[in-house]
């Protein structure tokens, strides 16, 4: 361990001395303190949410770049300047050198992460405690932003079956009308059918109740639940949104059970129809007794738009049911853990590429790798494919994602800024599928290459 720590210390010193690192640290400090310190030009709850989101996301961005750069720099710098020659001719295995440098990068970034996040946490709390905020807003901020709430999503519609049914119907119509249907037409029908199925599921027609069923909620819940959603008027674009009205009803389970199934009485959540702005998130309380003994909660919404226009509630816009389970500090700490996993991953990627490439090439390839992961994830999340090539791209993206880390998976900043709990199960999933199964094999390949490569050929004069 003595030689491990010797390398650890020297690598840390070397990194701290690099100019790139120093510039990044200055930017990090400015970013961490500047955004939460801005003068709030809007409602304090929104401001805190935005300040949280941008400051933590910015820190992740800076530290992510830093982790990649330092990972590459730690491995390559003394290899190219031949200082490593004097190290590896001493009785220390190259794997120890490699791992010690990886740990040094992780340690430095963890230190910066903790400092930056402590600054943000302190600034947010300071603004909340010392700002001139009305009592009602203060309570709302505490319930909606500075909290960790577990998220429950409703059962998803079966888009595949629905779209297949629609596509079959379209195909039958086309054939009945005597059209010559080829493969391209079938692809087109499938795409259109999927769009229609999703649109149909998201649409709330005027005065027709739409129902969502939530499962596995805690039956013994005592405090009210929170309903979070966002509706769009007429279409799912942000442009030309206006106020609209709807009413939410919660199914209150009856005491008696009919035929083994719980019966529900639907009661409105407000005494009058709710007036709200299209395209913005809204939260509303649901009584805790709406949860059935088996953990089921049923919600209904009725569109009462003054112009009888359809409303749209996409799967990503809710409705979600939120239950507070911890305070802001603990939720923030969980987000810090996710950010650290991100740093570990990027550090591992940087080290792996630097093990066989020069510094500049390794940095370039690391960013290329990450871009590939981001694009693949984006492509794989698409729900429609206009043609065969796109479908091929989808499967290619799925294949790439077997071994490439998509950075989107590490984003916990929006959860925390929305007051949603960063679940340990989710963190575990990230650790398993992104860190252990994707980044670490790459890191291990890098270690093998580093152990076996010729060092004296990589000398920059």
């Amino acid at each position: 361990m003595q030689s491990f720590f010797a390398i650890f210390r020297i690598a840390s010193r070397q990194m701290i001395r690099s100019r790139f690192f120093r510039v990044l640290v200055v930017l990090l400090v400015l970013w961490s303190c500047a955004i939460p310190a801005l003068i709030a030009d809007r409602e304090m709850g929104d401001f805190l949410r935005i300040a949280l989101l941008y400051s933590t996301a910015g820190v992740n961005l800076f530290l992510g770049c830093n982790a990649i750069w330092l990972g590459c720099f730690a491995i390559d710098a003394d290899m190219e300047s031949a200082q490593l020659h004097l190290v590896v001719v001493k009785p220390i295995s190259r794997l120890t050198v490699y791992f010690a440098k990886f740990c040094a990068v992780a340690w430095i970034n963890l230190l910066l992460l903790v400092i930056a996040f402590l600054a943000i946490f302190g600034m947010i709390n300071f603004r909340f405690r010392h700002g001139e905020i009305p009592a009602e807003t203060r309570e709302r901020i505490q319930n909606e932003v500075l909290v960790g709430r577990r998220v429950y999503l409703p059962d998803q519609g079966d888009y595949e079956n629905a779209s297949r049914r629609i596509a079959d119907a379209m195909l039958a119509d086309a054939k009945a009308s005597g059209e010559n249907v080829n493969l391209n037409d079938e692809v087109y029908f499938a795409r259109e059918a999927k769009k229609k199925a999703m649109a149909k599921d998201a649409e709330m027609r005027f005065n027709i109740p739409k129902e969502w069923r939530f499962k596995n909620l805690p039956a013994g819940q005592l405090t009210p639940l929170v309903l979070r959603y966002r509706v769009f008027v007429k279409g799912v674009t942000d442009a030309r949104q206006r106020t609209t009205k709807l009413v939410w009803l919660a199914g209150i389970p009856r005491n008696e059970v009919a035929g083994g199934k719980t019966a529900f009485d639907f009661l409105p959540l407000s005494s009058a129809p709710e007036q709200l702005m299209g395209g913005t998130f809204t939260e509303r309380l649901i009584p805790a007794d709406a949860i059935a003994p088996d953990g089921t909660l049923i919600l209904r919404a009725v569109n009462l738009d003054p112009d009888k226009a359809p409303l749209f509630l996409q799967p990503t816009d809710g409705p979600k049911v939120l239950i507070p389970v911890c305070g802001f500090a603990r939720n923030f700490l969980r987000m810090t853990l996710v950010s650290f996993l991100l740093i570990l991953t990027l550090d591992a990627i940087g080290c792996a590429f630097a093990s066989f490439l020069s510094l500049a090439t390794a940095v370039f390839c690391s960013f290329g790798y990450l871009l590939l992961g981001i694009l693949s994830q984006h492509w794989a999340m698409q729900r429609t494919y206009p043609d065969l090539i796109s479908r091929f791209g989808y499967y290619l993206a799925k294949g790439v994602l077997f071994f490439v880390v998509p950075l989107q998976n590490f984003d916990a900043t929006d959860l925390v800024s929305d007051g949603e709990l960063v679940e340990f199960a989710w963190i575990g999933t990230i650790f398993l599928f992104n860190v252990l199964l994707r980044a670490m094999p790459l890191f291990a390949i890098g270690a093998i290459i580093y152990r076996n490569r010729e060092l004296a050929t990589a000398v920059k004069r």
């Binding site: 030689s3 010193r13 020659h85 001493k90 009785p91």
Partner: protein, 388 residues
């Protein structure tokens, strides 16, 4: 057979070849091409050759920094890449590959840590090594601020931190002033006396000549010549006679006598010259005596104690044995200037006895002819001088 010849080889190189390839694996440069040699325990072995002859590549292959394209290398009977092999190796690279932001003390402490030396042991060795290489006054200065010579000295110190059995010195005197060169050469000879094995590469042939037992001369990646220095350098068919000339007339007499005595031989008479190194060292010695100050590296102190102290029972036993049992008779076992003085004394005594030096390692037939020639010459010289 000398003890060095009897000892097990420290490094064995067999059919070693190294070809550098481009990105596509196409062979571009054949740096080393099928070389064979052994480095035996306790000898100073030199690799010589012009630039690009494959010296540094060979050293890097022995260190496991490069891998052979063909052939084998073993160091202490193991692969040069084995971690345990490196416990006994000290390496001074051709250029200063030190961390510029570390001080001299931190540098040695860092490399000492890699050998798992305890903190008190490291401290003790660092103090001794800094004293030895004359950098005690610069112990807390950053290595990046050092002159080339100072960096070389700290490089030598780091190579010695583990008291290595096998020391590889790539151009050890490069960048050093003549005093530093002399100190390094003295250090090498001291280490050799302790039974250390030393591999040296150098362009400065006079340095190599002073210290090495055996040399390999490389050219174009191949061995052009190898063997013991004495065997390679002695000109067997020529004889030199040296003695003091009290005045011009005596010299003239001698010249005439030789010409008359050996009318068929081409005889050259000149004054022996001191080497520039000797002259320079005298000048500096005088300057020191006059207390002239300098901001560079001070002349080194005594050899670090731990380098002088035998490590094992065997070494203690060896140090107690008679000198001829542990030293190589053909190699110098004293400092070069002492050796030179001794040689001069020997030559003087020979001339006083009017005898001529015989080159070593002559064959029996040669010896017979030489004896005859010597007897004839002595007789004729006596006759000529006596006649005057």
């Amino acid at each position: 057979m000398t003890s060095a010849q009897n000892a097990a080889p420290v490094a064995v190189v067999r059919g070693l070849g190294k070809t550098f390839a481009d990105f596509w694996g196409r062979a571009r440069v054949k740096a080393v091409d099928g070389i064979d040699f052994e480095i035996r325990h306790g000898e100073v072995f030199a690799l010589l050759g012009p630039n690009g002859s494959g010296k540094s590549t060979t050293v890097k292959l022995i260190l496991g920094l490069l891998y052979p394209t063909r052939g084998d290398i073993t160091v202490f009977g193991k692969s040069p890449r084995a971690v345990e092999t490196k416990q006994e190796i000290g390496y001074l690279p051709e250029e200063s590959y030190l961390y510029p932001y570390l001080t001299a003390r931190e540098t040695l402490d860092f490399y000492g840590s890699l050998f798992h030396l305890s903190a008190p042991e490291r401290k003790s060795r660092i103090d001794q090594l800094l004293e030895m290489v004359g950098l005690s006054h610069a112990r807390d200065r950053k290595v990046g601020e050092f002159s080339k010579g100072m960096a070389r000295r700290i490089g030598i110190a780091q190579a010695m931190i583990n008291d290595p059995d096998f020391l590889i010195l790539d151009e050890p005197t490069s960048g050093l002033d003549p005093i530093g060169c002399r100190e390094v050469k003295d250090l090498i000879l001291t280490l050799k006396k302790r039974g250390k094995t030393i591999l040296v590469t150098s362009h400065l042939l006079s340095d190599v000549e002073d210290i090495s037992d055996r040399v390999v001369i490389l050219y174009g990646g191949k061995i052009r010549s190898q063997g013991k220095l004495e065997d390679l350098l002695t000109v067997g068919d020529q004889t030199r006679v040296t003695f003091t000339t009290p005045d011009q007339s005596a010299q003239r007499k001698l010249e005439n006598a030789l010409h008359n005595g050996f009318p068929q031989e081409k005889i050259i008479i000149d004054h022996p010259r001191r080497t520039l190194e000797e002259y320079f060292l005298d000048v500096v010695k005088q300057a020191k005596a006059e207390n002239v100050s300098t901001s560079g590296a001070a002349a080194g102190g005594k050899i670090a104690d731990y380098l002088n102290t035998p490590k094992s029972k065997d070494e203690i036993l060896q140090s107690l044995l008679p000198q001829e049992n542990i030293s190589v008779p053909s190699a110098p076992d004293t400092a070069p200037e002492q050796k030179e003085v001794a040689n001069e004394e020997k030559l003087r005594s020979l001339t006083e006895e009017k005898s001529v030096g015989i080159p070593p390692k002559a064959t029996a037939e040669d010896e017979e002819i030489n004896k005859q020639k010597l007897a004839d010459a002595e007789a004729r010289l006596d006759q000529l001088l006596g006649g005057k």
